[in-house]
């Protein structure tokens, strides 16, 4: 039998208490399971969110103040450790109107405003090129505008709904002073609640129609690598700025799930550490219970190495088996989750992440070495 096949095995297993050990092995099992599962889920969710093109690793925030923001403040903001990029919002310094001619249904005029941000902050920008003196201006509008029109304005006025595709072909007239332009919707954004035109156009138009009047910067676009960055919060408070929009839901989800899995991982590690502590104690107790018999083996001439190998091999085999079971259960859970996600239409990750395997191997190796050290010390002490 595995445990005591010979008289020496019978002696050395004499101090072993199955119930005591089972509890500790369950602790080890749970610790390892929680640790590997949290790593696996964290990586899975991260790759799942990253595979969505609309999401960026960075969180984009829009920051505004009531006073003009000077260039020194902007430079200092850009120097904060969590900030990866800062851009300024420019606005039109001239009056402009927009109009839509709907044939027999009449024309709609409205006063309008434009803003611009550096091109690098925009996603889904389509054909964004603007040539000087061109009469066509590419614009980006918030997704919410289309929703408001389709579900608010159009039903109230008996107008047809428009799709994102059809609005791209919609003729929107822009009148600045007496010049007529055509605005063409090239994209939609969730990040910026404004009507965005190319920065080059706005600079050119401000020079032409406002005679280079002073544009007081009151709004910034900021990319941060750390969601809820405390340094940024402090900086904004000191400069009387506030976040007017940003923190995309995905970024919030990502930071929340990250935290949740980190918490689970820490819990797993704590259970693992506690179980390891108990494991160490129980090995000490186990060997001490057999102390008299082990000392007698020494008196009969049994080598230390023989006793050490007997104990070390069996203890290693027992917890290795526990780890393998924990790993298999983790695989089952992970597989189950992947299938569930696949049913929901998410492209779940396939197989186990290598980080999980490395982490498990590291824990395994640590316990092997711990075992070796413990058993060796105890045996050396008892078999002086």
């Amino acid at each position: 039998m595995f445990w005591h096949s010979d008289p020496m095995g019978k002696i050395l297993s004499g101090g072993f208490r199955g119930r005591e050990f089972t509890g500790i092995l369950i602790g080890l099992f749970l610790g390892i399971l929680l640790m590997t599962l949290s790593i696996e889920f964290y990586l899975d969710v991260r790759s799942l969110l990253a595979s969505d093109s609309a999401l960026d690793r960075n969180e984009t925030l829009i920051v505004a103040g009531t006073d003009e923001i000077d260039s020194g403040t902007i430079e200092n903001l850009a120097k904060l450790p969590g900030i990866s990029d800062v851009g300024v919002f420019r606005k039109n310094l001239f009056e402009l109107d927009a109009y839509i001619k709907l044939g027999a249904l009449g024309s709609y005029y409205t006063e309008m405003f434009f803003e611009s941000v550096p091109d690098r902050f925009l996603d889904d920008i389509g054909e964004w090129n603007w040539q000087e003196n061109s009469k066509t201006i590419p614009i980006i509008i918030p997704n919410d505008f289309l929703t408001m029109y389709n579900f608010g304005f159009a039903p109230a006025r008996g107008l047809p709904r428009i799709t994102a595709e059809s609005i791209r072909k919609f003729p929107i007239g822009i009148r600045i002073r007496n010049d007529d332009y055509r605005a063409r919707v090239t994209g939609f954004t969730n990040r910026i609640q404004s009507i965005i035109v190319p920065e080059d156009f706005l600079k050119w138009a401000n020079a032409k129609y406002a005679g280079n009047a002073h544009d007081d910067i009151r709004k910034l676009i900021v990319k941060t690598r750390i969601p809820g960055d405390p340094d940024l919060k402090r900086f904004l408070q000191e400069h009387r700025l506030e976040i007017v929009s940003g923190a995309s839901p995905a970024a919030k989800i990502r930071s929340f799930t990250g935290l949740a899995f980190m918490f689970t991982g820490i819990l797993g590690c704590l259970i693992l550490i506690m179980a390891l502590g108990m494991y160490v104690l129980s090995i000490l107790l186990y060997i001490r219970r057999s102390e008299k018999d082990i000392a007698l083996l020494s008196l009969l001439g049994v080598e230390r190495k023989k006793v050490f190998c007997w104990l070390f091999r069996r203890l290693t085999a027992i917890f290795s088996l526990t780890m393998v079971i924990a790993f298999l259960v983790m695989l089952l859970v992970q597989h189950g989750l992947s299938s569930l996600l696949a049913q929901q239409g998410f492209a779940g990750t396939q197989g186990v992440q290598s980080v999980t395997v490395y982490a498990s191997l590291a824990v395994w190796l640590f316990i092997v070495l711990l075992n070796r050290l413990l058993v060796k010390r105890q045996i050396t002490d008892v078999m002086r």
């Binding site: 010979d6 049994v302 230390r304």
Partner: protein, 210 residues
């Protein structure tokens, strides 16, 4: 391999305390037989323990072959206990959770001794029908006979016997002693035996009062 004791005495005795062994120079030649007797408390077990490398607190020196007993590493001692010096402890020290058979098998496996021969010796001492009983349930006399057989299950140059017949009747004592002498002769081994009284055995080269 001779045993050489020079001014030896356990740490708990006065260095001036002298019988025929303590604080004397004694040389025991290979294959010689010594009987050492004393009343309780004179250090019979201490002498055996010093010679078996268990007791390290003593004055003087004890040399086994060419080596000072205190200079030998524990690993070397374990080797000596497998093939050079065998012992019957006064308190027997059998594994009480093992059966008599398992006690002998364990020793035979350790020293490469023929286990069948071990069982034959056990039968000779009349404990064959107790083989599969846990040692904890055997009588002291049965355990003592088992300890004697166990001591025979190895090669040795010296056999140390610490009051080996204390729990045996005359008949069993004689059978056990015959077995011991026969096994010592087979190996050309020396013998050191302790006891309470001078029994006047003629087979000893040295009879010393401790």
């Amino acid at each position: 391999m001779k045993l050489h004791l020079k001014s030896l005495s356990p740490a708990y005795l006065e260095p001036t305390d002298a019988g025929q062994v303590w604080n004397r120079e004694i040389v025991l030649e290979p294959g010689s037989r010594a009987y050492i007797y004393a009343v309780s408390g004179r250090g019979k077990t201490s002498l055996i323990s010093i010679l078996y490398g268990i007791l390290h607190e003593f004055h003087g020196t004890a040399v086994v072959g060419e080596s000072d007993i205190l200079s030998l590493h524990p690993d070397r001692w374990r080797m000596i206990r497998r093939d050079t010096i065998s012992i019957v402890f006064q308190d027997l020290k059998v594994f009480e959770n093992l059966t008599a058979r398992e006690n002998l098998t364990l020793k035979a496996d350790l020293t490469g001794f023929d286990v069948e021969q071990a069982f034959e010796m056990a039968a000779e001492l009349g404990i064959a029908d107790r083989f599969d009983r846990r040692c904890g349930s055997l009588s002291l006399g049965e355990r003592q006979r088992l300890a004697i057989v166990r001591a025979m299950c190895q090669p040795f140059r010296w056999l140390l016997l610490d009051e080996p017949f204390s729990h045996l009747d005359e008949d069993n004592r004689k059978r056990a002693f015959d077995l011991i002498l026969r096994e010592c002769d087979k190996r050309g081994a020396g013998l050191i035996m302790t006891g309470l009284l001078n029994t006047g055995e003629e087979c000893f080269d040295h009879v010393l009062a401790l």
